[in-house]
Amino acid sequence: MSEPLLRMEHITKRFPGVLALDDVSLEILPGETHGLLGENGAGKSTLLKILSGAYRPDAGSIMLGGKPLELKTPLDAQKHGIVTIYQEFNLIPTMTVAENMFLGREPGKGAFVSWSRMRDETEKVLQHLNLDLDPMMPVSDLSVGEQQMVEIARALSRDSRIIVMDEPTAALTEREVEGLFRIVADLKARGLSIIYVTHRLHEVEQICDRVTVLRDGKRVGGGNVGELKIDDFVKMMVGRSSTQLFTRLGGHRTTGPIVMKAQGISRDRDPTNPHATLLKDVSIEVRAGEILGLAGLMGAGRTELARAIFGADPFKRGSIEIDGKPLILRSPVDAIRNGIGLVPEDRKQQALFLDLAVRHNLAISSLKDLTWGRWFVSDRAETALVERFRKALDIRMASADIQIADLSGGNQQKVVLARWLALKPKVLIVDEPTRGIDIAAKAEVHQQLDMMARAGIAIVAISSELPEVMAISDRIVTMREGRVTGSMPGDRATEESLMHLMAIEQTAPGAAIAGEGRI
């Protein structure tokens, strides 16, 4: 066995309230493709950020080629030949391929750039990679897959020794994935090492030599691909003794008729948002009083599905019915009018008006019901509404007139829930309803979702925390790469069975969904 090229030893990183990495070690051999696996929040990104110089570890050391390495800034990492290619590319879309390749180190004399040299050298690197791209084309005219190739070409032209790829295939078409794999094999043949972070376990089997698995900030296993099977990875990622954080809420809810039915939703690549997962013929249905959990790994398309149903993003094919009536969704206004609500994924960016008072945040969607003389907002009606939900959801605040920015995350989220409850929706989609809020508040939000379901609202709950999905859902639908891959009753689901569907299953066994879907 050859000497490792990179050694990360006993890395520990602590954030306020979280131990993100706990004594993690990682060895990368020269010329290997090393898979880095783990659930959402396992610590992969933190480890990568330390390797790329964006974060500094609290403890531990990094050795490159036998020499200790101190990475203070991302520039340090690049100087030592460690290049990270993130999902969101670091390309300047308005500049050409060649300009991007040589950004910050343009060839030329003095203040003048030599365009011909820049073009020729770019051409050389692209040919090396068998890429048929015009060096003078602006990056914005390239597909996502091609942009990624430019990133790789740039890494190559900088004499990189280690290329880190973070979820490189999430936004690629199958043909682009094949192209990427060819290039990875080629890089390997040249002796470069690749750290390959992915949720797609079959890709690991295809291109990785060894893997390291993280869970809850710890290294929980790893080894040679070939000796380990996909099922072994799943077991390591989930952990046999995963602590049950949430207790399943007691007693089944009784579910009523189907309220919302989405059929054959397909979404093509959207030039304004090229990183969104493409939806492929997705169908789900949810009944009154039911909580439908939507499980999937990052990039599975859950948020995209939620936004399609809510009319926030257009979709190409498919239909959405409420109470058997097909809807025409041009915007969220149409969805809301038909009784659909959405608690979005990113509270601060998509739900809150941080400069406004709590009361204004809560009432913004139901002002129509609070008016007198058609236009004027009735102070009294608004106060009554806020007061009702303050009690019902136990929103803790000094006063309804303070800025919502001054509430804790949990209380902010309750205000967003109240905003929708005030509209008495038929269907409420909650996307990561407990992200960034503390454990106690999480339990409260779970109880409130249960309460809403018992009141007859059909709830679609998206969560990246499997224990959470399992605790709250009557039924769980899994998604992977923009497709539905399975469905099972909430009380029978195990983390392992879900992870299998989320990470491995290729296509939706359609019959199984229909069969198992009913409870």
Partner: protein, 344 residues
Amino acid sequence: MSEAVTDKPRAQTRSVRSRIIPLLSRYAPVVCLVLLIVIFTVLTDGRFLKPLNLFNVMRQISIEGLIAVGMTFVILTAGIDLSVGSLVAVAGLSAALIAKGSAASSFSLSESEATGYGWFAAMLGAIAVGVLGGMIQGTAITKLKVPPFVVTLGGLSVFRGMALMISGSGPISGFDEAYRWWGQGRIGPVPVPVIIFLAIAAVAFVVLRYTRYGRQVYAVGGNREAARLAGVNVERVLLSVYVIIGFLAGLAGFVLSARLNSSEAVAGMGYELNVIAAVVIGGTSLFGGVGTIFGTVIGSILIGVLINGLVLMNVNPYVQQITIGLILVAVVAFDQFAKSRRLK
């Protein structure tokens, strides 16, 4: 990152200094205004505080103040309207043409020759022109997705060009008494333009503060994506604010022509600077979502007081422009400073 906020009022943990800064940023315009008034009163031996002078100040600011009220709506949505000055000129000329009819072409100061339609039609015409201009610009912004800065910069040039074409042979002057009353008349001691300005400001205050529409304006400016996902018709709100400022620019064009007893193509030149300055000095954030009509009224008065005071002290008029520009930048700089404090 984890949530660093607590439910306790944060003031408890704040130092005295960090408590004063937000308070200052809230009342800074009022404090500045009072200070300016005191300074000018002292420096002019009380001439500044004479009722006649005060009404003068108010009359001077009333026309730009009208537009500033509209600009408050626009800036609250994180937009901007640079075309207002040119729109004032087109609206004023339209009003003049309607009021004078065929007499408009023959240069005449005699009101007996008027063959037009009277002040009411003239006012409606001016407003209609403003509304139309706002509607076209608002449509370009919402439907064609051209940034407001670009659309209204284009509008600034287009409307000025139109005004020059309309006026061709020169200013249109000489209106009847009823027309002139809207710019020169008084109710009791109070000039009519001042009453129009304050009445419009009061209506706008109520609209922004107490109506559903007002809430939606703040929401769209505060967080456009969140507003959309909360069911606010964002495009309609955006279009509406440009219609509102167009309406007020049209009205201002009419009042200005009544006050000067003349409409000319160069009227309203440079208004956009004073108007935007008044709104921003009044505490409305150029990033949208924060601001009040009260602040805009104070900001307008502050600029008026500043100019009037400098005039009374015989300061070079060019210095006025320099001062307004500096104050504008200083106020926004302070706002940024206060904000960076708040985020810490």
